[in-house]
């Protein structure tokens, strides 16, 4: 039973009534007699108190490899039930952070609580309640899909009577039922990835870590994996922490995103808020190298990289005319003008002056890297 209190729209009298979530109850104002309906919807305030319970609490987490501070004093919280994104370029320290949270690696200093257990003192308890999909391949490719899942459920102590049911269930979820008894070696990259996601779910983890779940997948398969992740959130109601260096992925999937660079969080919030903070749209002017100096003087607030002028404006469509006139008046030749709605990449660019994906990391490079990077 929830008690709801609100003001009568007619005479402003405070009215209280009780109901359950989802109820619509007719109410009559005791003072002016106005009839109305009280809706017991999940309102924002309710949501807040619900999601405020935390699944992951990180405080001062640090990892130093020899001289390199791979993870530098990270602190953040992940709320129960949300998809939390860890967005950053290669080498930012995402995998290292995940490895520490999953107890595969000891932090140099700092610590974290996952599912209410300390990752250092109660690593076994943490491992019981998490699921993990590694960045690099981690299936036994000589075994069948079902055997891989079978081994996993045994390792996680899933009851024998439950095993078959759950294996069939997760195979169904990732649409691999038809290939259940094929050797994993014969699977495509996308199928292996899906199988790994399925495997991470068999023991019904409370928190699921996904380390670059779509790395090296073609765009279509990537979309497919996104669908599964959203389905997981909806059907299993688990907390998901995922890393990625694809900003559109973070934008699409994540409730909140932490942008990480050189082991530090440089921004944290909902994708919308992060983009809004940029101050709206971007106008991009391609200019000749000779005009760059001039442009620096004229567009004082702009960011200029090479021969591109980036202007943050509220509404690009309306303001582009003014900008072009200003350029013309100051004899800055505009080769091309473009309008861009902000993306998370712009957020990163704005904060660091670099693109999030340095170099043109194409699919083949990434596959190569994925093979090469399989570490312990």
């Amino acid at each position: 039973m929830i008690t709801k209190t609100f003001a009568c729209p007619e005479c402003n009298t405070q009215i209280s009534c009780q109901g359950n979530l989802g109820d619509k109850i007719k109410v009559v104002c005791p003072k002016c007699g106005k009839k109305g309906v009280a809706i017991f919807a999940v309102d924002k305030a309710d949501l807040k108190t619900k999601t405020d319970s935390l699944s992951i609490e990180v405080a001062g987490l640090t990892k130093i490899y020899k001289n390199l501070k791979a993870v530098n004093n990270l602190s953040f919280n992940v709320r129960t039930g949300e998809i939390f994104g860890f967005l950053g370029p290669n080498g930012a320290g995402k995998t290292t952070t995940i490895n520490m949270l999953c107890t595969l690696m000891k932090p140099t200093s700092g610590g974290a609580i996952v599912c209410n257990y300390d990752i250092i003192k109660h690593s076994l308890e943490v491992r019981k309640c998490i699921g993990l999909v590694f960045q690099d391949a981690s299936l036994d490719d000589r075994l069948t899909a079902r055997e891989n899942l079978e081994l996993h459920s045994r390792l996680y102590g899933v009851q024998k009577s439950e095993r078959r049911k759950r294996i069939d269930e997760v195979l169904e979820l990732v649409e691999l039922s038809a290939r259940a008894d094929s050797i994993v070696r014969t699977f495509s990259g996308g199928m292996q990835r899906r199988l790994e996601i399925a495997r991470g779910l068999i023991h019904y983890p409370k928190v699921l870590f996904l380390d670059e779940p779509t790395l090296g997948l073609d765009p279509q398969t990537r979309k497919h994996v996104w669908d599964y992740i959203l389905k997981l959130k909806k059907e299993y109601k688990i907390t998901i922490m995922m890393t990625t260096h694809y900003m559109e992925e973070a934008d699409e999937l994540c409730d909140r995103v932490a942008i990480i660079d050189h082991g530090k969080i440089i921004a944290l919030g909902t994708p919308k808020k992060l983009k809004d903070n940029l101050g709206g749209d971007t106008i991009i002017l391609d200019i000749p190298d000779d005009d760059v100096e001039k442009a620096r003087k004229v567009f004082k607030k702009a960011k200029i990289f090479d021969s591109q002028v980036l202007l943050s404006v509220k509404n690009a469509g309306r303001e582009i005319k003014k900008v072009l006139e200003k350029a013309k008046k100051n004899k800055i030749y505009v080769i091309e003008a473009n309008i861009r709605k902000p993306t998370l990449n712009d957020v990163f660019l704005h904060l660091t002056g670099r693109e999030i994906r340095e170099g043109a990391a194409n699919l083949r490079d990434e596959l190569k890297r994925r093979r090469g990077m399989r570490g312990h």
């Binding site: 590694f134 981690s138 299936l139 490719d141 075994l143 055997e147 045994r154 390792l155 312990h376």
Partner: protein, 257 residues
């Protein structure tokens, strides 16, 4: 209970992989069979004062060779699991690392045992067909019942060496190096192929340090009734060796991850 299930799971995986890799079974039988036939029939010198023919003399050594090849494979498989990424899957599971090492060791020992038994049966078959070969080997159920636990013990010890090496090294190449420079000499210096008493003094010293010597000698005593080293001594050495190797392997594996 949970940990027992984990040991069983890791063992089960080794068994499935062994079953799937039939070429591996043949490959690790090739060398011992080669030795049995080529050297066994090529060198006809009698040993132990003419009481035993050479084929019988090397039979236990060849079994140890089969055990070594197969057991060392557990070390390779640890490195392989690391490269494959499956090691992380095991390490992040809510089970202790000790269960993982024990599961892997038992898996390695079981496959070695199967290979060893195949060689044993092969010797039995040849002895039945051509009585001049392996005439000195006592093959019957009771011999086999003593040979069996001995093979388990020896295999576990060598598996321990394999896992220790794998925990200290990063690459398969490194493992191959150690294999060729340490493990193979351990076999050839063990007195598996020639009587210890005939060796020059300085080699004999090395032979007495080599744990494989005691493995071969204990097995030889059980199989043909002769040995250069007292059975109680060789058995004790093997027992202590295996026990320490498993402890060392567990420690090194744990430390690595």
């Amino acid at each position: 209970m949970r940990e027992l299930e984990a040991v069983y799971t890791v063992w089960l995986r080794e068994m499935i992989r062994y079953y799937r890799a039939k070429e591996r079974i043949l490959a690790s039988l090739a060398m011992p069979i080669f030795w049995l036939f080529i050297f066994g029939s090529g060198i006809r010198a009698p040993v132990f004062g003419g009481q035993v023919d050479y084929t019988s003399f090397i039979a236990p050594g060849v079994i140890v060779m089969a055990l070594m090849f197969t057991s060392m494979h557990s070390g390779i498989s640890v490195i392989w699991d690391r490269e494959l990424g499956f090691m992380k899957e095991m390490l992040v599971a809510p089970v202790s690392r000790i269960s993982i090492v024990i599961g892997k060791s038992l898996g390695g020992a079981t496959t070695a045992l199967i290979q060893g038994t195949i060689i044993f049966l092969l010797i039995f078959g040849i002895q039945n067909l051509y009585s001049e070969y392996f005439s000195g080997v006592r093959i019957n159920i009771s011999t086999f019942l003593i040979v069996l636990p001995l093979m388990v013990l020896i295999s576990l010890g060598i598996v321990g060496i394999g896992i220790s090496i794998a925990s200290l090294l990063d690459t398969l190449e490194g493992f191959g190096l150690i294999m060729n420079f340490i493990v193979m000499p351990m076999f050839f210096l063990s007195g598996a192929l020639f009587p210890i008493n005939n060796l020059p003094e300085w080699i004999r010293v090395v032979t007495y340090i080599d744990p494989i010597t005691y493995a071969v000698e204990s097995l030889r005593f059980v199989m043909i009734g002769f040995s250069s080293i007292n059975f109680v001594l060789s058995f004790s050495v093997i027992f202590v060796f295996t026990f320490s190797m498993i402890l060392i392997a567990t420690y090194l594996f744990n430390r690595r991850s």
